[in-house]
């Protein structure tokens, strides 16, 4: 008898001990925050920088004791720069990891792909990078965007049209929600300012050869070329524009045009171009919360992250801080409570003071932050104030 009961008692005791261990684990289990970024594929460089910025915020918050007495834990998924994969990451984060809130998804197309899932599962998402107007005007109340819309960028640029003395503008944009939206908003704004609009060219987001588009732009002969795409393509466009002797002044919009990465490229193709950015790490004193910006730049460099990633990474940092502030105000890591609390959040971010205004159809408004926008100049391999 003894020999039969012994193992039974043992396993009961083990199960009891295990249940105790689970009990304590629940109390100390970190609050999970889902992050979906393009860590591979066409936007890999930018997505990784945003993830690095987000991890800095995670460490910063956990070092200061976390939130609601618990640590936070980022669950970072790779959406592979692909809208189908982006939806899969949202399914995984919400379904398997049970995150009450997400950040993502770097680029309008990826964000738009995920949006129906947010409605389905009623989980809020902070959008750190995406400029298409559609995201906040389509009536999705789970969207909280901290990056500016193309329309906001165009509006911020309006007073500079005179200074640049633009008479005729051409456009080259990536053929997706981000690029087409920007070309449309900027061309409308310029037309109102009495500027002639020449050709509006597009390119596949994966394309590497823009010779045909540039030949057409050269023939159009505008004095200014607005380019909207991610830094990978901008690098190639600046190089090829020099090769084809396109003489127009090039202004790159969208904020994913990392001037430092452009300068790091061989040759001097970036010189004379004007990037429109949302953070100016070269002169942190110029931004609203200069002390936060300075600390962020110092920490980024201390971690020996690529200096070219600062203009992307800050958004991951601001995004996670905003989410954690909402969790704090909500008082519990619950999707509905966080969604509600997000509206009252006021965060001192690197880009400026983050707070949300309502956009979109009444009753189901999306939230939009009003971020700062700057235009800088690349001159002699350096970024200078314009």
């Amino acid at each position: 008898m003894k020999s039969i009961f012994k193992p039974v008692w043992k396993s009961v005791a083990a199960a009891f001990a295990a249940s105790l261990a689970v009990g304590t684990a629940v109390a100390q289990e970190p609050i999970k925050i889902g992050v979906t970024q393009p860590l591979t594929g066409a936007f890999a460089a930018s997505g990784n920088y945003v993830a690095q910025g987000a991890k800095m915020a995670e460490d910063h918050i956990n070092a200061a004791g976390g939130v609601l007495g618990r640590k936070i834990q980022l669950v970072i998924e790779d959406n592979k720069s692909n809208p189908t994969e982006a939806v899969a990451t949202a399914e995984k984060l919400i379904g398997r990891d049970k995150v009450p809130v997400m950040m993502g998804a770097w680029s309008s197309t990826l964000t738009l792909a995920i949006m129906p899932k947010l409605m389905e599962y009623q989980v809020p998402m902070l959008v750190e990078t995406s400029s298409s107007g559609k995201i906040t005007t389509s009536g999705n109340p789970y969207i909280f965007r901290i990056s500016p819309t193309s329309e906001m960028e165009a509006r911020a640029f309006t007073p500079m049209v005179k200074g640049f003395n633009i008479k005729k503008a051409d456009f080259l944009a990536t053929n997706n929600d981000f690029g087409l939206g920007a070309s449309q908003e900027f061309s409308q704004m310029l037309k109102k300012q009495g500027v002639q609009v020449g050709v509006m060219e597009t390119m596949d987001p994966k394309a590497t050869d823009f010779s045909a588009q540039l030949a057409k732009i050269k023939a159009s002969g505008g004095d200014t070329l607005f380019v909207t795409t991610a830094v990978e393509q901008i690098t190639l466009i600046l190089k090829q524009a020099k090769e084809q002797q396109v003489r127009a002044r090039i202004i790159t919009t969208g904020g994913s045009n990392s001037p430092d990465q452009l300068i790091q490229q061989p040759g001097d193709a970036a010189n004379g171009s004007f990037p429109l950015v949302f953070f100016t790490p070269w002169f942190p004193e110029a931004v609203k919360n200069a002390d936060i910006a300075r600390k962020f730049v110092a920490e980024w460099n201390a971690r020996t992250h690529n200096v070219g990633g600062l203009t992307e990474g800050f958004r991951g940092y601001d995004g996670i801080h905003t989410i954690v502030e909402a969790i704090k105000q909500a008082g519990k890591p619950d999707a509905a409570a966080i969604q509600k609390a997000m509206w009252n959040v006021k965060v001192k971010g690197i880009n400026g003071d983050i707070a949300f205004i309502k956009q979109g159809p009444a009753g189901k408004e999306s939230a939009q932050n009003v971020p700062s926008v700057y235009v800088v100049k690349i001159d002699n391999g350096k970024v200078i104030k314009n």
């Binding site: 860590l39 591979t40 594929g41 066409a42 890999a44 460089a45 990784n48 053929n175 060219e201 597009t202 390119m203 596949d204 994966k206 394309a207 590497t208 050869d209 010779s211 045909a212 588009q213 030949a215 057409k216 050269k218 023939a219 990978e232 690098t235 190639l236 090829q240 020099k242 090769e243 084809q244 002797q245 490229q265 061989p266 040759g267 001097d268 193709a269």
Partner: protein, 290 residues
Amino acid sequence: MDQLLQHGLNALMLGGTYALLGIGLTLIFGIMKVVNFTHGELYAFGAYMMYALVMLTGVNFFVALPLAIALGVLLGAALELLLLRRLRGADIDTTMLVMIGAWIALQAAEQLAWTGVAKSINNPFPAAPLVVGAVSVAWNRVFVLVVALALIGLTYGLINHTKLGRAMRATFQDRETAALMGVQIGTIHTATFALGSGLAAAAGALLGPVFVAYPSMGDLAAAKAFAIVILGGMGSIPGATIGGFILALVEELGAGYISSGYRDAMGFALIIVILLFRPTGLFARKERIG
């Protein structure tokens, strides 16, 4: 008019590497009857070898180029010996599945080795373009075209004027009879796959420094190589050469005068049109292949 000239010039510059890609693929298909899904990865491999040699180890650009091509030849030979040799006699579906697996494995390996961030490769050519009248072209692209044409010429010479080439042509025409005449089919297959792979690696090594190197770069290149081979007729080397230049021209003019956003779709639209009227491609031999 200037714009048309510029488009034509751009197409000429691009056509050389397209032809290289097409010839490599069509050789392998014609002689081995293998649909080579790893072709694009050999292209990416060539570009990454240039990155490793020029940017990481500081090898001179002009030394690195033949080295990168040679490494591509070696990788091609290794693939043939390790995978295809064991599959000779297997049906086409099995071979295709294995090649698709090899394609995915190679791309994943590139991602693991080099991360997803695009790498740019320095080239020693002046940044200022060569200007002829109203049109201009970058020096590095002129170099790419010259080397591509030279490699195409060498391949023609090898196929048409050497003993190995004669054996390859014999295998192409009739594998069994060639074997009966004493041709070592195994050796011919290894040589063919190595040569085709080397040409793909050469295209990547040439274009890597013009554009950037990234792990999925081979996908579009492979799709275009298939387009060129179908366009020119499967197994036809002159067809692949001319097909490469035609594809480049159609892309350029289509992007320039119809819609630039659909540049990469132009070539595929052209294939549909050509296949409607000439189902075997432009230059296919009369008899059926495969």
